[in-house]
């Protein structure tokens, strides 16, 4: 394994971020652990090509988000094939998020279930803003959009989520 010392530092600094973000998208420990492994393999393979156009944190956020969205897509595809019918995305999510506080578990589970049915960019904007607590500037940089566009994306996402609840 080349770049071992550098990789260990990155892992120490960002493993928790990647794991928790994966949990917010995938909602269960097993999938989140698998996703964390895959994300760090990607980081290891691509770190040499990383240019400092964005911060390392932003770059890692992007890799994690893209990977989790791919996992969700592939899961939904498998479910559609299995049930050979129009399958509503994440109709039955295997919900086992250890980070949700017990007193709000039921309500949050419901919100997360509805959040999953939103379009990808709306879901991501809400996760980064509401759960990760990132600033508008950071989210705009991760999503590669302008802050104004993010504002309208967030407002659309909130409206959609409100409608679903």
């Amino acid at each position: 394994m080349k770049n071992k010392p550098q990789f260990n530092v990155i892992y120490k600094d960002y493993a928790k971020l990647v794991y928790n973000l994966s949990l917010h998208y995938l909602h269960n420990t097993e999938d989140a652990q698998e996703a964390t492994q895959d994300v760090f393999v990607k980081i290891y393979q691509k770190i040499e090509g990383f240019n400092n156009k964005s911060s390392l944190k932003t770059w890692i956020y992007r890799i994690t988000i893209n990977h989790c969205l791919d996992v969700i897509k592939s899961k939904n595809r498998k479910l559609r094939v299995l049930f050979s019918r129009e399958y509503e995305d994440n109709d039955k999510i295997d919900f086992d998020h250890p980070g949700i506080k017990i007193e709000t578990k039921e309500a949050v589970e419901k919100i997360m279930g509805e959040l999953n049915k939103l379009p990808e960019n709306q879901k991501t904007a809400l996760i980064l803003k509401g759960i990760e607590g990132l600033s508008q500037k950071e989210i705009a940089s991760i999503l590669k959009i302008k802050e104004k566009a993010l504002e309208s994306l967030l407002s659309r996402a909130r409206k959609n989520l409100k409608k679903r609840l």
Binding site: Q37, G99, K101, V108, K129, L161
Partner: protein
């Protein structure tokens, strides 16, 4: 809505399991082995293709030479004089 229903305080940060780093390192090593094996296989396939192509071209050349030799050439038989 999201401000009321979905906020950071509803979530506590989850600690990452200790075994995950070893699993990641194993996965990286496996990926490296796989990619080096793929490179070797590609190289071997390229060499085999090259030799096969050389063989085909060689055979075609040989065949065309034989065809040229077998063709009837009327001038080669005119090795006598009419005025003898």
């Amino acid at each position: 809505m999201e401000k009321q229903l979905l906020h950071k305080e509803q979530f506590s940060s989850v600690e990452i399991p200790d075994f995950l780093l070893d699993k990641i390192k194993n996965k990286i090593e496996q990926e490296e082995k796989k990619s080096s094996m793929q490179t070797k296989l590609l190289l071997a396939a390229a060499i085999i293709t090259l030799f096969v192509n050389i063989g085909i071209i060689g055979q075609q050349k040989l065949q065309s030479n034989t065809e040229v030799e077998a063709e009837f050439n009327p001038y080669t038989t005119l090795n006598y004089s009419y005025y003898e």
